[in-house]
């Protein structure tokens, strides 16, 4: 803490000194600015922290992530008459349309007991992943002004979008469980595994939205392509039909096509939840393995991949 007066004197002294030093060429042995900075222990303003300390910084910002996510959800429907009710109505209306289209008109429900519960489970689980990923993809490119004004680990933004969707999903899950009970599915102890299913899916969503956040930050065309990718994914994940029935039995494709479709993360998480809620048996072994693998693998890769470009967000 130095006095302003002395600072002024310093500046004047510096000014005089410069006036003299500028007369001749550089004195030999004059240190460069980088060496000067090193001598006083100054660090580069932009330097990517190590992976562990990055994770620690992110953890310190957990309040921001949570508050930001909640605020986003609060403001989302703030100018509508029904307000927060839309959080429940939107997925229900979607499910109703798909039920009409696929269940009644196209007859996808044949061979599936309790088609409404089957469909709505698939819709809600898939919507969670879809919205997290879409939100993550624009989390950097859509918040450039914040990135250019404030310091925080950039991963907080895609993370906040996933947390925001998780908060929405918890409301949807309450609706879903109500519906499943309405369709006379028995309550079993398996329901205790629901948080595990959500945890695994959340890990996957965080990882995938981190990957998409970095891709979306530098490739702006992604946001135009994303709806098509998401729709393809929706159809490939057996949200409103049974993959086994349609792909192998009806279309006559070989079994491995169905197996690959089942192993895609969205289908695996949907199957996990359906096993718990509707089928009433513990998730099959391959479902467990696929869900755990995608959760751990995607989270680790996504975090690492996002971190690698940490210092470059905000430029493009």
């Amino acid at each position: 803490m130095s006095q302003p007066e002395s600072a002024v004197a310093d500046a004047k002294a510096r000014g005089r000194k410069d006036g003299t030093s500028s007369q001749g060429p550089n004195a030999p042995g004059k240190e460069s600015l980088a060496e000067l900075a090193a001598r006083y222990g100054l660090r580069r303003a932009i330097a990517r922290p190590s992976l562990p300390s990055y994770a620690r910084q992110l953890w310190q910002r957990r309040h921001f992530v949570l508050t930001y996510a909640t605020s986003k959800n609060v403001t989302k429907y703030s100018n509508t008459a029904l307000g927060q009710l839309w959080q429940v109505l939107t997925p229900l209306l979607n499910a109703a349309i798909y039920w009409l289209m696929f269940g009644l008109i196209l007859g996808a429900s044949r061979g599936i007991d309790n088609y409404p519960a089957f469909l709505i489970t698939g819709m809600f689980v898939f919507t969670y992943t879809q919205r997290s990923v879409s939100g993550g993809a624009k989390s950097i490119s859509g918040n450039l002004s914040m990135i250019r004004a404030l310091h925080f680990p950039r991963a907080a933004l895609p993370l906040a979008y996933t947390v925001q969707e998780l908060q929405q999903l918890l409301i949807s899950m309450a609706v879903l469980i109500g519906l499943v009970l309405l369709t006379q599915e028995p309550v079993t102890t398996l329901w205790l595994l629901i948080p595990v299913a959500l945890l695994l899916q959340t890990m996957f969503n965080i990882g995938f939205s981190l990957i998409m956040a970095r891709v979306g930050a530098f490739a702006r065309d992604l946001n135009q392509l994303l709806p098509f990718i998401m729709r393809t994914w929706l159809y490939a994940s057996g949200v409103f039909f049974s993959i086994q029935d349609k792909v192998v039995a009806s279309a006559g494709l070989p079994q491995w096509v169905a197996d690959i479709m089942y192993l895609n993360p969205a289908a695996a998480y949907i199957e996990f939840m359906r096993d718990l809620l509707i089928a009433g048996h513990s998730p099959r072994e391959w479902v467990w393995m696929a869900c755990v693998f995608w959760a751990v693998f995607t989270l680790l890769v996504g975090f690492w991949y996002f971190w690698r470009a940490e210092e470059r967000y905000g430029r493009g």
Partner: protein, 285 residues
């Protein structure tokens, strides 16, 4: 474009360790070396270049319709909508503990860009910025949401600046008092007058203490009473912070607050020195 390539080749020809040659237009060389008795360096900017990528900046000749886009793809041309703007072209200086540095220059001369680069928010294209501690930009506007109440925005803004829940609790009343918005704190910010919004934003932004403080045009807000209050707070923050950078178009503020002025012109330092000299030259230009 031609200017830009010329600029770059010009830069490459220079020796990186010699800051004096970089600013040829400077009538008075900037302080490259601190004399021993001066405060210790807190910010070292070494031959900094910042290049922005701007999207959608097509000229008349390349109108952005679909047919043209297809044609470009067939001709294998790059995307003309993406332009690079060379905002800072080789700036070097050393700031010391206790300095309050005013940055002046016309619109688009790179003042805000330079501040963001010092804050470590814009990656340098070339060169480097070395700092002691974490420089922070006084500005939290981007994190706030118009539809939220003032209360929620205070909490959100404080968290965005990296405060802990305990710190937020301790500062909350102070922020409300300082902003002087009274019971409006329970209303959404979209209902505020522009002055009230500016006051709340300044109150939130200035609630945190900083090592190196960067202020970008924050003073010209609110009524006279609030201007006086905010100037006092800036002075207090300057006493706490090691170094203050201030961007303002209001030259009186610079003259009152700063002990050194850097004049930026088209991304280069045109002049660097004590306020009287630089401001006089700036006014003549």
């Amino acid at each position: 474009m031609a200017e830009l390539t010329k600029e770059l080749s010009h830069v490459k020809a220079e020796e990186p360790g010699d800051p004096k040659q970089e600013v040829k237009t400077s009538p008075k060389p900037k302080p490259a070396q601190p004399p021993a008795p001066a405060g210790t360096p807190t910010v070292v900017v070494d031959d900094l270049h910042i290049v922005y990528r701007v999207y959608g900046a097509a000229s008349d000749a390349e109108k952005g319709n679909a047919a043209n886009a297809l044609l470009r793809m067939l001709r294998r041309q790059g995307r003309p909508q993406m332009r690079e703007v060379h905002a800072i072209k080789g700036v070097s200086f050393v700031a010391h503990h206790g300095d309050a540095i005013g940055i002046i220059g016309r619109n688009g001369s790179g003042k805000s860009t330079l501040l963001r680069a010092i804050a470590g928010l814009l990656p340098p294209h070339q060169g480097a910025v070395y700092t002691d501690g974490q420089p922070s930009l006084l500005g939290v506007n981007a994190a706030l949401m118009r539809e939220l109440t003032g209360e929620r925005n205070i909490v959100l803004g404080c968290y965005a600046m990296g405060m802990t829940p305990a710190q937020v609790k301790a500062k909350y009343d102070d922020i409300v008092d300082f902003s002087g918005i009274g019971e409006f704190v329970q209303f959404p910010m979209s209902t505020y007058s522009s002055g009230m919004g500016a006051r709340l934003r300044f109150a939130i932004a200035s609630a945190k203490t900083h090592d190196v403080l960067l202020i970008d045009e924050a003073l010209a807000t609110g009524d006279r009473e609030f201007k006086r209050k905010s100037q006092e707070r800036i002075k207090a923050m300057r006493a706490q912070a090691g170094t203050v950078f201030l961007v303002a178009h209001n030259l009186d503020v610079i003259e009152e607050t700063c002990n050194r002025v850097i004049w930026l012109h088209k991304g280069k330092i045109k002049m660097d020195g004590d306020p009287q000299t630089v401001l006089a030259a700036y006014n003549r230009a």
